[in-house]
């Protein structure tokens, strides 16, 4: 019987700059029976960003004239932080701003978010390099637990044409992020030539079902997948030449 389990990691406290996310994850997992080889550990990026000090106090920001123009009812200082993370504006309907971030992700507000920030008047950015964050945490978990696990760092992204957000993988280490079925054949022999499944995004969304249910659960284990390998969050970004929606 094929079964996958998604287990919320409880008791992880609010994370502060400089703290070791892997130590918190390992301790929480230990209290719940421990990690197993092949587990995928999914961590909401806010915990990672806070540990890495990717938090901006709005009191320190002076908005530009353009930032003020496109803010509508948003704090123009927050808009300025968003513009600082933006490589390209994809759509603008103030205050809504869909941006391609410096990393290449296309998402609302270039990933800058005031919800679940450490304090009023602060905003949280995406990690500087979410793949590097995932790799560091993956290596630290191996050191601490002796287990070979994979790590996904997630954010909640909106989608074109569909309502609501789903969590996706912005950083990854230790797993295949895209399962490429090209060349495989279905039972009647038809080649599945166009099929590549973004499994890391599906895993991120699956974990959100647990993370979203309970306040203060920033990480989950997804067990039973069999997706070990190598991959990165960057691979999930469509190359510009193949992007029909630039």
């Amino acid at each position: 019987m094929t079964e996958i389990r998604i287990i919320g990691l409880e008791g992880i406290p609010e994370i502060h700059p400089g703290e070791d996310v892997a130590a918190h994850v390992a301790a929480a997992a230990e209290r719940q029976g421990g990690l197993e080889d092949g587990d995928v550990v999914v961590i909401a990026h806010k915990a990672v960003s806070k540990a890495e000090g990717r938090v901006v106090e709005l009191a320190s920001v002076r908005p530009s004239r353009y930032g003020e123009q496109i803010s509508a009812d948003r704090d123009p200082r927050q808009t300025e932080v968003i513009l600082g993370e933006t490589a390209r504006i994809v759509r603008l309907r103030p205050p809504l701003l869909i941006a391609q971030t410096r990393h290449g992700f296309v998402c609302a507000s270039a990933g800058v978010d005031a919800s679940n920030a450490p304090a009023q008047g602060t905003v949280v950015l995406l990690p500087e390099d979410p793949d590097a964050s995932a790799e560091r945490i993956c290596a630290a978990l191996a050191d601490r637990t002796g287990r070979r696990v994979a790590v996904i760092v997630t954010d909640s992204f909106g989608r074109a044409w569909r309502r609501g957000t789903t969590d996706v993988a912005i950083g990854a280490a230790g797993l295949q992020v895209v399962l490429d079925l090209r060349g495989r054949r279905d039972p009647v022999g038809y080649e599945l030539h166009a099929t590549a499944i973004a499994v890391a995004d599906e895993i991120a969304g699956a974990a959100e079902l647990v993370l979203g249910k309970t306040d203060g659960v920033p990480a989950a284990i997804v067990r039973g997948l069999g997706v070990a390998g190598s991959g990165s969050g960057k691979e999930l970004i469509i190359p510009a030449a193949r992007d029909l929606f630039r």
Copy 2:
């Protein structure tokens, strides 16, 4: 401990026109310990489409001149079937055609697919009304098992800006499809005013992790969610007025 389980339903045979999908699902679930109240049953639309006879033999199709023009290396008869399911062409780079379907979904080839079709020379369409399909199966499962379960009918959709497909909910019955957090406050009192989570799409993607692992598993149970309520796949389509990507 918060835990969600995704359980593949095994032993469901290839479905033929007129067959009762709910009967197959109920029998498979029974062999694996039975359904429980609150379970979400996720079914790949191909099983539903085949049962509903939504299969076209290409030999019966005569392509139009336009269909021939935009086919590139695809069978022009298949293109003609795609155009028949298309309400609006969103992007065209032959043979790639991103369409808004008659239902309102934006996806590749208007949901028409030759992979996992019943035979060479046939293609499978989306169900005529996937919400009605989900409702019928939901009611039939209640009749057969006495359990209150929800049903999601899925398809694999590509996304703008991101590589690979993820499974999403095209039809739903018996659950909230969007979890609306507007008005809720985070721990520091910031109102989560923009946050609505497309849980039905995350559930669909989670189930794909099981369905994709094993050939011939068209359905899965997702257990432990607590999302009972009412909702439809249509709710996941963004209203035209709010669509920044028309």
